[in-house]
């Protein structure tokens, strides 16, 4: 199945792009997508403070992702 992953803030810098379209197996959770997409760039201390959304709805990392979903990784930012 095909999903889109959108990167915000530091994830954009880490990934060098704003979003990515990926093919993935059905039944995977947001946490699995995170691991798959970040690969060697995954950092537990960053993941633990990241907010996730699917189709502009806040979700927890154990939410199952479906075909056509738009997954977003939204870390906190403090700038003012």
């Amino acid at each position: 199945m095909a999903i889109t992953v959108k990167f915000f803030a530091i994830y954009r810098d880490l990934m060098g792009r704003a979003e990515i379209a990926i093919e993935t197996s059905p039944g995977l959770k947001v946490a699995d997508i995170y691991t798959q997409v970040l690969g060697s760039k995954a950092r537990p201390e960053l993941r633990s403070v990241t907010m996730f959304a699917v189709n502009e709805q806040y979700v927890t990392a154990d939410t199952v992702v479906h075909d056509g979903d738009r997954v977003a990784f939204i870390p906190p930012v403090s700038g003012g």
Binding site: K6, F8, A9, I10, R12, D13, A18, R43, E45, L46, V49, M51, A53, E56, Q57, Y58, A72, I74, P75, P76, V77, S78, G79, G80
Partner: protein
């Protein structure tokens, strides 16, 4: 609060909006709004709230105007550099509206003073620039039951929401606790386009006006994420978390929680002891060891334009983003050597140290506080920026 004929004339373009009217204008005149942080967000928010006729503004900031503020902090001018922001901002805002009542709090809002200061206001604008203050604002607003009009910016990305206890989530529902030190860069390290806080600060002013007048649909339960580079936005639906430590069904936080600030550079002379640990050291020790001719490589992971402003002569420059590509060829022979990594404030360098250590450079260590602290404590001839 009755409006005078002069008031009616001054705000005529706003009063003629049926949603505002004379009644809304009177509500604005009676309102007391606290603005936490008079930076990129607080300046436009304060400007539009003063111009809109909000009766009382509380200005809260412990900082002075710096040259690098001027590209986004629109209340300040070149002649204001070095002056306290609350004083300069107060003068400018009075120029907009001589009837404005101003409370100037020339201090940093912390967990210790947030309840005491914010209790006097009806509504709070969070325009702060660091996580400890954001959590102090959030916790105090939940406990005091005050609306918290949130905004934040970084690079080209802005966020805004309205947190109202009882009607929607709070900041902790989204982010239960602050990130560990060194994980998330701030504006000083990552940059920000000046017009962006202008947009987000204006949104915060607009949301505050809506809340005061009781009109429209405030950003309660929604997080606006604005991507200025693509000029697109997301409206993330955000629920209240029943298990939230401060606004949940069984709160464990009943007073604002104090956190360490990763962004504060200790002023010269107040920094405490020098240290040289396995994975971190102070700039003064690094300079002393370089002067003694020790085989210590200072690796500067800032961008070339920053090195052009201020740099350490012996340092080798590899910007953080280039490190994975260039490390093997340019540093491969130094895997057994001590590498002291430097950036502006010590945040990017901490990421570099983590990367280096996980790629075989076992003796990489951070220079805490970066070149800014180096300038303050070790060598004042190095310019600060």
């Amino acid at each position: 609060m009755m409006l005078t004929p002069g008031d009616m004339a001054r705000w005529s373009r706003q009063i003629r909006l049926p949603q505002i009217g004379a009644e809304g204008q009177e509500k604005l005149a009676a309102a007391r709004v606290a603005i936490v942080g008079l930076g990129g967000l607080g300046c436009p928010a304060a400007l539009y709230l003063a111009a809109a006729g909000v009766g009382t503004l509380g200005l809260i900031d412990d900082d002075v105007v710096d040259l690098n503020n001027l590209h986004r902090q629109v209340l300040y001018r070149e002649g204001d550099i070095g002056q306290p922001k609350v004083v300069v901002a107060g003068q400018r805002l009075r120029g907009f509206n001589s009837q404005l009542r101003l409370m100037e709090h020339a201090l940093r809002l912390t967990a210790a003073n947030a309840m005491y200061i914010l209790a006097d206001y009806d509504l709070v604008i969070d325009g702060s620039d660091n996580f400890p203050t954001r959590y102090a604002v959030n916790d105090a607003c939940v406990i005091l039951k005050k609306p918290n009009v949130y905004g934040s910016v970084l690079q080209f990305e802005g966020r805004a929401s309205v947190f109202v206890s009882g009607l929607g989530p709070c900041y902790r529902c989204l982010y239960p606790s602050p990130p560990p030190i060194g994980v998330i860069p701030g504006c000083a390290d990552a940059g920000v386009l000046g017009a962006l806080p202008g947009m987000i600060g204006s949104i915060q002013a607009g949301e505050a006006i809506k809340l005061i007048c009781g009109i429209g649909d405030p950003l309660i339960g929604r997080l606006l994420v604005l991507d200025m580079l693509a000029m697109t936005n997301e409206h993330i639906q955000i629920p209240r978390n029943p298990n939230c430590a401060v606004c949940g069904d069984h709160p464990t936080i009943t007073q604002p929680v104090e956190y360490a600030d990763s962004c504060i550079t200790p002023p010269a002379g107040l920094a405490g002891e020098d240290y040289d640990h396995e994975n971190r050291m102070t700039p003064r020790i690094a300079r002393r060891r370089l002067a003694a001719g020790e085989p210590l490589l200072v690796l500067d992971v800032r961008e070339p334009f920053e090195a052009a402003i201020a740099s350490i002569p012996q340092a080798k420059l590899i910007p953080l983003g280039d490190l994975p590509r260039r490390a093997d060829s340019e540093l491969g022979h130094l895997r057994e050597n001590e590498i002291a990594v430097l950036c502006h404030h010590g945040i990017r360098s901490a990421s570099a140290v983590e990367w280096l250590r996980s790629h075989g450079f076992k003796r990489a260590k951070n220079i805490d506080g970066g070149i800014d602290r180096w300038s303050l404590e070790a060598d004042s001839s190095i310019p600060r920026y």
